[in-house]
């Protein structure tokens, strides 16, 4: 086994810290959305942040990707995100796929994907990868984004994020409101993305989905982490089973 291969852990990680969050506080005016959050994600991992609606998952995602001011420390690849614009983080490989998708509604699928590679080259190669991952997008490539179904828009949002060649992908609620058949497509897509070596922070309300994909899970409630551990451990946690898995 090569030294490179030895460095890679059981989950495909190399141990290098991609994201380091410590003592993070975020507020909206007088309302505190996150308090004292600590989080570390290493290369190749899928770390999921689960929790109910309003727990602060999207706030955490927006803070990590440079869209929200904060107190505490958030470092991407060893440098604070506080002194960088979200656009600069994109160039450095941190790409955020938001809950609201934020697609370019009056543009077609092809144009949306090409804009995903705005700061990159090799558009054709990356587009082929995305179309291979989500063949439905290729079938719809001439269609305006705002005329697509919710599931197709979600595929497009993930596809557009992948066009930016991410090292670290922040996925915020990728399964929200999707039909089971589309959920399966998204699920397969996330597996393929991880296999390609991308580190992922997965913010999810769908705990079953998170348990299936994540290497490590944090439960966020009212802006604080209240449980954490590997999925096999949390699956047997009474509180999580009763509160999030229907007993």
């Amino acid at each position: 086994m090569s030294s490179d291969a030895e460095a890679v852990g059981a989950t495909g990680t190399t141990g290098e810290t991609v994201l380091s969050v410590s003592d993070l506080d975020v507020s909206y005016g007088k309302v505190q959305a996150l308090r004292g959050v600590d989080l570390e994600i290493t290369q190749g991992e899928i770390v999921s942040v689960i929790g109910p609606n309003g727990a602060g998952k999207s706030t955490l995602a927006n803070t990590v990707s440079g869209f929200k001011e904060f107190d505490g420390s958030v470092e991407f690849m060893g440098r604070s995100v506080a002194d960088r614009m979200p656009e600069d983080l994109v160039e450095e490989g941190l790409i955020h796929c938001t809950e609201s998708r934020d697609l370019f509604g009056f543009m077609n699928v092809d144009d949306n994907l090409e804009l995903g590679a705005y700061r990159r080259g090799d558009v054709a190669e990356r587009k082929a990868f995305v179309y291979d991952l989500f063949p439905r997008l290729e079938e719809r490539k001439g269609q305006h984004a705002n005329t697509m179904s919710g599931g197709e828009q979600q595929m497009l949002a993930i596809g557009r994020a992948l066009m930016g060649d991410p090292d670290f992908l922040v996925l915020d609620e990728p399964t929200l409101g999707l039909a089971p058949v589309i959920l399966e497509d998204i699920s397969e897509g996330i597996d393929a993305i991880q296999e390609s070596g991308v580190t992922i922070m997965l913010c999810e309300q769908n705990v079953t989905f998170a348990l299936k994909h994540a290497d490590h899970i944090h439960l966020l409630e009212n802006g604080e982490f209240v449980r954490e551990g590997p999925p096999e451990e949390l699956r047997d946690d009474d509180y999580i089973r009763e509160s999030y898995l229907g007993g």
Partner: protein, 286 residues
């Protein structure tokens, strides 16, 4: 028959210029979500830049260059040093651009006085079309307006920076998520809008002379045109400009010149009542 032909020719020519005036206004609203009430100031600066360039012996080409560059620089500086700090406060931007507009008018009065200044024509001479005498200058203004509109359309829809402008107009956050720097896009938009207003100012000045208050009517006109066409839509601005242009000339020619100012307002109210989002909605370009 001659009356109809004259109506069509004059309306077509006037509408092209109106479209040129309105596009810059809609571009800034579409991308930044703010109303630039200093748009008329860029028109004034374009006309006076052309006048001073011509007086300095730079010729028509030099005057055109000055009419493009001076307002483009003005728009860029206005964005960088004033608007950028308040870009998420549309009311503040309206107030600041209105104040800037008044300041530019006062500066022009101070530097050039209140008398109209002669702005060079693009072309001199006349030609007759179907019994109607038309100045070459008006034909040049029409051709230039359309060349610029088509150029802008191609730039926005088929170049990378143009698509960046288009993307930002559709979703500012989406643009940030793919790495488009909204600062640069806004700066480019203010510069382009300034240049378009500036060359429109030279075109207006070449017909009526440059005056310190020449930007007021085009600003009101721009507002009507973009509301009718759909705020943020280039295609809507062009259609709105032709609607207003034909209506204005038609009212002057067939009804009464006293009603010129009222006709666009009647259409504006009708559109707001029937289709408040304008004829082409919110999209920047199609």
């Amino acid at each position: 028959m001659v009356d109809i032909l004259q109506f069509v020719i004059l309306s077509t020519i006037r509408s092209g210029l109106y479209a040129l005036i309105a596009i810059g206004f809609t571009l800034i609203f579409g991308v930044g979500g703010v109303l630039n009430l200093a748009h008329g100031a860029s028109i004034i600066l374009g006309a006076y830049a052309a006048y001073y360039a011509s007086a300095a012996g730079l010729g028509v080409a030099g005057s055109m260059l000055a009419a493009l560059v001076v307002p483009a620089v003005f728009g860029s500086l206005l964005y960088l040093f004033v608007i950028r700090r308040f870009e998420h406060e549309p009311i503040m931007v309206m107030i600041l651009t209105l104040v800037t507009s008044v300041a530019v008018e006062q500066l022009v009065i101070e530097l050039a006085g209140t008398q109209a200044k002669r702005v060079p024509q693009f072309l001199s001479g006349n030609m007759t079309i179907g019994g109607t005498s038309v100045q070459y200058n008006l034909i040049a203004v029409f051709a230039l307006s359309w060349a610029i509109i088509i150029g802008l359309f191609l730039f926005i829809n088929y170049t990378k920076p143009g698509k960046g402008i288009l993307a930002t107009s559709m979703s500012a956050k989406g643009a940030s998520l793919v790495g488009i720097k909204s600062d640069r896009i806004n700066l480019a938009t203010w510069a382009i809008a300034g240049a378009l207003a500036g060359i429109a100012g030279m075109a207006l000045g070449s017909q009526l002379g440059a005056t310190y208050h020449m930007g007021r009517n085009p600003l009101v006109l721009s507002f009507s045109i973009v509301v009718i066409g759909g705020i943020g839509s280039i295609r809507g601005s062009v259609v709105g400009a032709y609607l207003i242009g034909f209506l204005e000339v038609g009212v002057i020619q067939f009804v009464s010149s006293d009603l010129t100012g009222i006709a666009p307002l009647v259409v504006l109210i009708l559109v707001l009542l029937v289709k408040p989002e304008g004829l082409f909605g919110r999209e920047l370009a199609e």
